[in-house]
């Protein structure tokens, strides 16, 4: 079943994203009208302009970028592993990045943001590689259950390690809390200066191997006969997934379920060709995280919920729907 990949769906998703973006600026603890937004952009200084431009604009930009990065990473990981039930967070990349950050903060308290980032990204990459390798050994190599199960267990392992360190060093807890609960609020510009280039690099890498992605799911001998060095492609993809996930962990902490559910639903909307699927998934991921960010301001109003919680509350029912309706039940 290949749905027509009409550009109309792109336009529709783009318009929805724009609307969500503006909603994200306007709604919150204090809600504003469009008129105040225009005034603020025109340069009028007031309380409204401070909230709109200095507090809400950064997060309204951050949310779609991170959402897109996670969704694209999810699509690539699922294609590479030939498993629609995996995602960066499911195989433990988020928790590994968090663990590395906590370890670095404990061992070298004065570490610079730059190296912290490098650490988070290499942590994510190593976890991806670890699960990828583990999935290749042992029996039932082709069970769809294997990756999610291994991932869930590895995640628990990493969080147990993190827990040990946090119990031993409570001072780190405060600094690390930031990376332990996903959120897009109050991210400083210094963080963005480090995180955004990383994500951009990840997107560029993705774009570079976009043409070969169609062959991503082939095994070695088939890909070879098509003239593609599949090992190099896998390495490239793993690297860009690590960059995208590491960058978004740096910017927003561990945010789950976007990389898991968006690819599945993006396939329903945009079809299976990666040249169309990947930009489409990026749009849908951006849309979902922006909406989740808006919702996070209202679930327990007047307090704010971590956006990772909201993506879980939206994502889990979607995932359950997918498992119940799109898998046969016996694999």
């Amino acid at each position: 079943m290949l749905p027509p990949s009409s550009p109309r769906r792109f336009y529709f998703a783009l318009i929805a994203l724009m609307v969500a973006f503006i909603t994200s600026l306007l709604l919150g603890y204090q809600s504003y009208g469009l008129y105040q937004l225009v005034q603020a952009f025109a340069g009028e200084v007031s309380e409204a302009s401070y909230i709109l431009l200095d507090l809400r604009l950064p997060r309204a930009i951050l949310a779609p970028v991170v959402g897109a990065a996670l969704a694209v990473a999810g699509v690539m990981l699922q294609s590479m592993t030939r498993n629609p039930l995996t995602s960066p967070d499911i195989i433990g990349m988020n928790s590994a990045a968090a663990l590395v950050v906590v370890v670095l903060l404990t061992v070298m308290p004065g570490i610079s943001l730059y190296w912290l980032n490098v650490g988070a990204i290499s942590g994510a990459g190593c976890a991806g590689l670890l699960v990828y390798l583990l999935a290749k050994i042992g029996h039932d190599k082709h069970s769809l259950l294997k990756l999610p199960l291994l991932g869930a267990v590895i995640t628990l392992f990493f969080s147990a390690m993190t827990q040990v360190i946090l119990t031993l060093d409570e001072a780190v807890l405060e600094k690390a809390l930031f990376w332990l609960a996903g959120s897009v609020t109050d991210r400083g510009y210094d963080l963005m200066q480090v995180g955004l280039p990383v994500i951009t690099l990840g997107f560029v890498l993705t774009a570079l191997c976009l043409r070969q992605m169609e062959l991503l799911h082939l095994d070695e001998s088939h890909a070879h006969s098509m003239g593609v060095n599949i090992k190099r492609l896998h390495n490239m993809v793993l690297l860009s997934v690590a960059l995208l996930v590491g960058g978004s962990v740096v910017l927003a902490g561990p945010i789950g379920f976007i990389g898991l559910v968006i690819p599945q639903f993006a396939k329903l909307v945009f079809g299976y060709r990666h040249r169309i699927l990947i930009p489409g998934a990026a749009l849908m991921g951006a849309l979902l995280l922006t909406l989740a960010d808006v919702l996070s301001r209202f679930v327990i109003y007047p307090q704010e919920a971590p956006v990772g919680v909201v993506t879980a509350i939206i994502g889990v029912p979607l995932f359950i729907y997918y498992v119940v309706h799109h898998t046969s039940g016996e694999v």
């Binding site: 583990l134 042992g138 999610p148 267990v153 392992f157 040990v164 509350i313 039940g329 694999v331």
Partner: protein, 347 residues
């Protein structure tokens, strides 16, 4: 039969496997030894005589306080929680015929955790004191465990689909975790810290009043499960065979599910989300003692207790003066073992 001793009475007969009996005895001795060591060591290390006198309340006031009122209750809690979790895992694996089923992997623990957080939040007054008795906590945890298991089975529909059971279990546990975080943020701050401790699984700060609540429940559950051990035998058979023997599958399923949930709730009510005991211990027990149901039950209970007790001992001695939550150590022991089993040893 070789390696077995048979007793025949007027109206009953018992078969003992020599290997299983010896193994169980050995494990029980090991558990006793660990209990004694656990009573002795910690931040303050006592001599052997002082420890024994302390248990009886005959030593000096300081030793009495630490051994009798601080260490003994938490050791008992560790034993009860470990045994309960292991048996819960065994029953769940038996019931679903899925070898990877366990309370923590299927989200049962997280469901209970969510209800416990809600309970702590809703029934606290302005000064953060509980307005109702703490005795209700196990029942609330039971309610949460029942809720999440019912939801899971309703979603899976076909009981023996390993695939769906595990996937949906992982998903539901994510959902309950998220909801728990919400409740923790919304509720007063003391609830958050209390709930946080609960979630990682902690047996310290246990007092005798908690043991007084748990011990009768645990003992009656043990009696029930031993009385119903034949159900465990039956579920190894094919469903048609069960029907042919004139047994009701539905009743058997219901009894096993309720017992498993009750055991999980007993374990998590005060000890919290201690993971991997219910997953790892039944596998190990099967490997060591074979598939005899009664032997499995006892060996699971003893080995589960041993695992949590040792994890607690490690948690409070390895990084002394800091205490690492018990659940962390059961995870650190359980995960490598699980990976080994899953990757190299077939279902």
């Amino acid at each position: 039969m070789k390696g077995q001793v048979i007793f025949r009475g007027a109206s009953f007969s018992l078969i003992f496997s020599v290997r299983a009996t010896l193994g169980l005895l050995l494990l029980t001795l090991l558990l006793l030894a660990s209990t004694v060591i656990s009573l002795r060591v910690g931040n303050e290390v006592f001599g052997w005589t002082d420890t024994f006198l302390g248990v009886l309340g005959e030593a000096d006031a300081f030793t009495n306080l630490i051994v009798q009122n601080l260490r003994l209750p938490r050791i008992l809690l560790a034993i009860i929680a470990g045994a309960s979790l292991a048996i819960a895992g065994l029953l769940l694996q038996n019931l679903t015929r899925v070898s990877l089923a366990s309370p923590s992997l299927l989200g049962t623990v997280d469901g209970a955790g969510f209800m416990v957080t809600l309970f702590l939040w809703w029934f606290s007054d302005a000064s953060n004191q509980l307005v109702v008795s703490i005795h209700w906590l196990p029942f609330v945890a039971f309610l949460g465990a029942v809720m999440s298991l019912t939801l899971l089975f309703a979603l899976v529909r076909r009981k023996s689909s390993m695939f769906r059971l595990i996937l949906l279990g992982i998903a539901l546990s994510g959902l309950f975790k998220a909801l728990t975080i919400l409740a923790m943020i919304k509720g007063p701050i003391s609830v958050a810290s209390q709930a946080q401790l609960w979630l990682v699984g902690y047996v310290n700060q246990t007092s005798w009043s908690e043991i007084q609540v748990l011990a009768p429940i645990f003992i009656s559950l043990m009696v029930l499960v031993i009385a119903a051990y034949r159900l465990l035998l039956v579920s190894n058979l094919h469903q048609d065979t069960i029907a042919g023997l004139g047994l009701s599958i539905n009743r058997q399923t219901l009894v096993l599910a309720l017992l498993s949930t009750a055991f999980t709730a007993t374990a998590v009510a005060f000890a919290g989300g201690i993971g991997f005991v219910g997953l790892v211990v039944p596998h190990l027990a099967r490997r060591l003692f074979g598939a005899h149901a009664l032997v499995l039950l006892f060996s699971c209970a003893v080995m589960g207790a041993l695992m949590v007790l040792l994890a607690d001992l490690a948690g409070r001695t390895l990084f002394s003066p800091y205490e690492v939550p018990t659940g962390v150590f059961t995870a650190l022991i359980g995960i490598p073992f699980f990976l080994y089993l899953y990757l190299f040893k077939g279902r």
